[in-house]
């Protein structure tokens, strides 16, 4: 009922000049809100959500592209530098969106349930963490006992090279894992990939002896970033300094840079994913997902197709791992737990398995919930608790509210609820995968006869 009412309302405004007006209005409003109240989570949501009006409303593609580019390349960096945390949130959204898109290939397209996806992320992260830090010189020291002031093995700019290397290494890891296990049926594959995810994490945790490759649980730090040219910082400050209200520091600019890198990766990933999905490989994946026996009888090499999906999904995760290691300058095994894999899976399913915009929306929703909404809510509660406020009607003093009830603690509860409710009421996800309708030239001619 509600949804149909909403649809009607939506449809009423989704034609003519309305969409353009709405998109511009939404974006401007969001920008203004964030600009004037840089600490408000709601304002931030208003801004971020303008991407969705951009997506949902029908408007001229050129208009959309211009609006999108302005939003992503100008508005976000500027308001982001004003409040660096937003940039961090958006960066995280981008990273997870990329991961979700990668997993979407494996789960959504090829129908292979991978519960250890984060392993590939770890492979990428550790790849750069090892070569982009001093770890090479620490090989013979037990964790924590190395001398300080060791040199770096490679210059920070090797980072870009490693983004490419990570694609290859992660893809090879994917193939290496996939070869033996891809013959397994769905649920068996799930447990094996889950096991593989654990194996990688445990290896990261334990390969500190006999040779100290990963520095074990202490993690590797510092990890280098690519150089940030001073002139770039200066020119950014020259152009946007007045808008931002303070001089952007190098640290700020690094945030902008990683945001751009992540954004670029997402665009590449979307591009590649869509092209592949629309080709014989994409069709073969769907066919394998639907009926393996029939697919193989049609001449589709099962294992090779599954490996392709695995390798592709893995390579996306690999790149993002490199990005993560460099942006964090710190990597430890705890970041690659089973929970992370499940988190990414949640994003895919929440958004809509097999759906590209769905994966992005899922990533955004979950990340925002995690970083922004729950935390924001908890902080708000703690402020209330420190004040003398009472809940009016029932006369309950906020300060008496148990800290056990902090929303930030109940991430899992919330995720759990989301997953269950989504599956019951909207199993296709927030933006269910759409099949491309083909314009079948020959056919219409016939039907009209």
């Amino acid at each position: 009922m509600i949804t149909t009412g909403f649809r009607q309302l939506f449809d009423r405004f989704n034609h003519g000049l309305w969409p353009c007006a709405i998109i511009i209005g939404h974006t401007l409003l969001g920008t203004f809100l964030v600009y004037s109240t840089p600490r408000s989570s709601l304002a931030f949501l208003a801004l971020v959500s303008s991407f969705f009006s951009l997506y949902y409303f029908k408007a001229d593609t050129r208009f959309k592209i211009v609006a999108g580019v302005l939003l992503a390349l100008v508005v976000i960096p500027v308001v982001g530098v004003r409040n660096i945390f937003y940039l961090e949130v958006i960066f995280q959204i981008c990273v997870f969106a990329a991961l979700a898109l990668g997993l979407n290939i494996v789960v959504g397209f090829a129908g292979l349930l991978d519960l250890g996806y984060v392993a590939f992320y770890a492979v990428g992260a550790y790849l750069w963490a090892f070569f982009g830090s001093q770890q090479f010189y620490v090989l013979h020291f037990a964790p924590g006992t190395q001398p300080s002031n060791l040199p770096f093995l490679l210059p920070g700019d090797a980072f870009y090279l490693f983004m490419f290397l990570a694609i290859i290494v992660a893809a090879i890891t994917g193939v290496f894992l996939g070869l033996p296990v891809l013959r397994l049926r769905g649920d068996y594959l799930a447990i094996v990939t889950l096991g593989f995810g654990e194996v990688i994490r445990v290896l990261a945790n334990n390969l500190d002896k006999p040779l100290n490759f990963t520095n074990g649980p202490q993690g590797i730090t510092p990890i280098q970033r690519p150089t940030m040219p001073e002139p770039l910082v200066d020119s950014f400050n020259n152009v946007f300094g007045s808008l931002i209200g303070h001089q952007a520091s190098i640290a700020d600019m690094y945030n902008v840079m990683f945001y751009f890198l992540a954004l670029a990766m997402i665009i590449v990933i979307i591009f590649v994913t869509r092209r592949i999905d629309d080709s014989k490989i994409g069709r073969a994946w769907t066919a394998v997902r639907e009926d393996e026996t029939a697919a193989i009888a049609m001449g589709i090499p099962l294992v090779r197709m599954k490996l392709a999906a695995f390798a592709m999904g893995a390579s996306f995760a690999g790149v993002m791992g490199v990005l993560l290691a460099a942006s964090r300058t710190f990597i430890s095994p705890e970041s690659f737990s089973f929970m992370q894999s499940i988190g990414v899976l949640t994003m895919v399913i929440l958004g809509g398995s097999g759906s590209i915009p769905g994966a992005i929306l899922g990533a955004a929703t979950v990340t925002l919930l995690n970083l922004q909404i729950l935390q924001g809510f908890s902080l708000y509660l703690s402020e209330l608790r420190q004040s003398d406020a009472v809940i009016p009607l029932i006369n309950f003093a906020w300060r008496d509210l148990s800290t056990q009830l902090d929303p930030a603690k109940y991430q899992r509860l919330l995720f759990g609820l989301i997953l269950i409710l989504m599956m019951i009421f909207r199993p296709g996800g927030l933006i269910p995968a759409k099949r491309r309708k083909r314009r079948l030239a020959g056919e219409e001619a016939v039907t009209e006869q």
Binding site: V107, G111, L113, P180, V181, R183, L184, R185, G186, D187, Y188, A190, I191, V192, L194, G195, F196, E198, V199, V202, L203, N205, N206, K209, P210, T293, A297, I342, L345, T346, I349, S353, S402, Q404, L405, K409, Y410, Q411, R412, L413, F415, G416, L417, I418, L419, I420, M422, M423, I424, P427
Partner: protein, 391 residues
């Protein structure tokens, strides 16, 4: 009475017992010969010398003397895994999906049992209980845990899985992951609001912590006390009873037959006059009861529980179920024993055999690696049947 006895299918009672003995002995013998061979081979190498230096015994003696205890330990944890694995296998067998929430159903069982005992402890009843009484109280705690877990399992099925029947395979699985998360935090919430504690401790009472000693084995300058704690015995015996009971239920009763029919083809089963929903509820109930009992036993054996306690045992048990061939009860038993043995052997010997380079921290992935290997060569698991799908 006589008729009742006649109607009992003795074969179905004895068969699982025999299997347990065979599996236990079999895996013990296989693994023991592997480690002994390794020990012989490595005795004269740096590994043996390093050990000689530290422990003053040869690697071979060390390995041999430690064996009996390692086997006992492996069996104990193996039976714990088997008991939990049964729950996964029951549900998988009927609905063909991994009930991710089983680990939390297990945890709820553990919590209910432990909370009851803690309450009894506070009331002073535990400390004053006689030996016989303490067994009664333990049984009571186990049964309460079972009831709570069983009820929860049925509710979860009703609320989160039943509406999803007929959806694609991933859908109920994701819902199950959701339930699992939800329950973890719910337990935490409830515990946080009522007791404020994260860790809950199984009170010590009765003689469960005592150890039956079978004797001493000399090892260099020290001796090893060979033995098993009473609680381990309780765990093993209870797990065996559960296995036998379940095996009987599934293979020798009408309900069991209905369960198997529902597992394979729900619409057709209903055409045979089977109430499918009821059978599915019963399946979850049975799985939950077993999980709850396993939870309390786990708490008894390992003392400390927390809201996330289900996760790792659940994972291992699930791996065990897969290893054995998921959906197959005997497979769950075999998988549990094999996995328990494997990880105990790995944990006990790996450090020595690798001169400390890789120790018991690898035991989990060792178990997982074996799982992967087994599945590569036997994709249907150890006991799983490969019913060829017809084209």
């Amino acid at each position: 009475m006589n008729r009742f006895l006649q109607s009992i299918n003795a074969r179905e009672l004895i068969r699982p017992l025999g299997q347990m003995v065979v599996f236990s002995l079999g895996s013990a013998i296989v693994l023991s010969s592997i480690v002994l061979t390794l020990a012989l081979g490595l005795d004269q190498t740096a590994v043996g010398l390093a050990l000689q230096d530290k422990y003053n015994v040869s690697l071979y003696t060390y390995t041999l003397v430690n064996l009996p205890q390692v086997v006992i330990d492996g069996l104990t944890i193996g039976f714990v895994y088997a008991a939990i694995a049964l729950g996964y296998t029951m549900v998988y067998g009927v609905l063909e999906f991994i009930n991710f929430a089983h680990s939390e159903i297990f945890a709820v069982g553990a919590f209910v049992g432990v909370e009851i005992l803690i309450a009894l402890d506070h009331s002073g009843l535990l400390r004053s209980a006689s030996l016989g009484m303490s067994y009664v109280l333990l049984t009571f705690a186990i049964i309460s845990g079972m009831v709570a877990a069983g009820a929860l399992a049925v509710t979860v099925e009703r609320v989160a899985y039943r509406p999803l029947r007929g959806a694609s395979r991933l859908v109920p699985l994701i819902s199950a992951i959701g339930v699992s998360f939800l329950l973890q935090d719910l337990i935490r919430l409830v515990e946080g609001l009522t007791t404020g504690d994260f860790n809950r401790i199984f009170p010590s009472f009765g003689n469960f912590d005592q150890r039956l000693n079978f004797g001493k084995l000399a090892l260099g300058e020290t001796t090893i006390n060979l033995g098993i704690s009473i609680k381990s015995i309780i765990v093993i015996v209870a797990a065996m009873l559960m296995l036998m009971g379940l095996n009987y239920l599934v293979n020798a009763t009408r309900i069991g037959k209905a369960i198997r029919a529902v597992a394979q083809d729900r619409p057709t089963a209903s055409l045979m006059g089977i109430n499918v929903n009821r059978i599915i509820s019963i399946t979850f109930l049975v799985g939950g009861l077993l999980g709850g009992a396993a939870g309390v036993l786990y708490a008894l054996k390992f003392t400390r529980i927390d809201p996330f306690v289900g996760f790792f045992p659940g994972l291992k048990a699930f791996a065990a179920a897969v290893l054995g061939g998921i959906g197959n009860l005997t497979g769950a038993l075999l998988g549990g024993i094999v996995l328990g043995m494997l990880e105990t052997f790995a944990g006990s010997y790996m450090g020595v055999f690798t001169m400390g380079a890789a120790g018991s921290e690898y035991k989990d992935i060792f178990a997982f690696s074996i799982l992967i290997l087994v599945l590569i060569f036997r994709p249907q698991g150890l006991m799983g049947e490969n019913v060829g799908q017809k084209a």
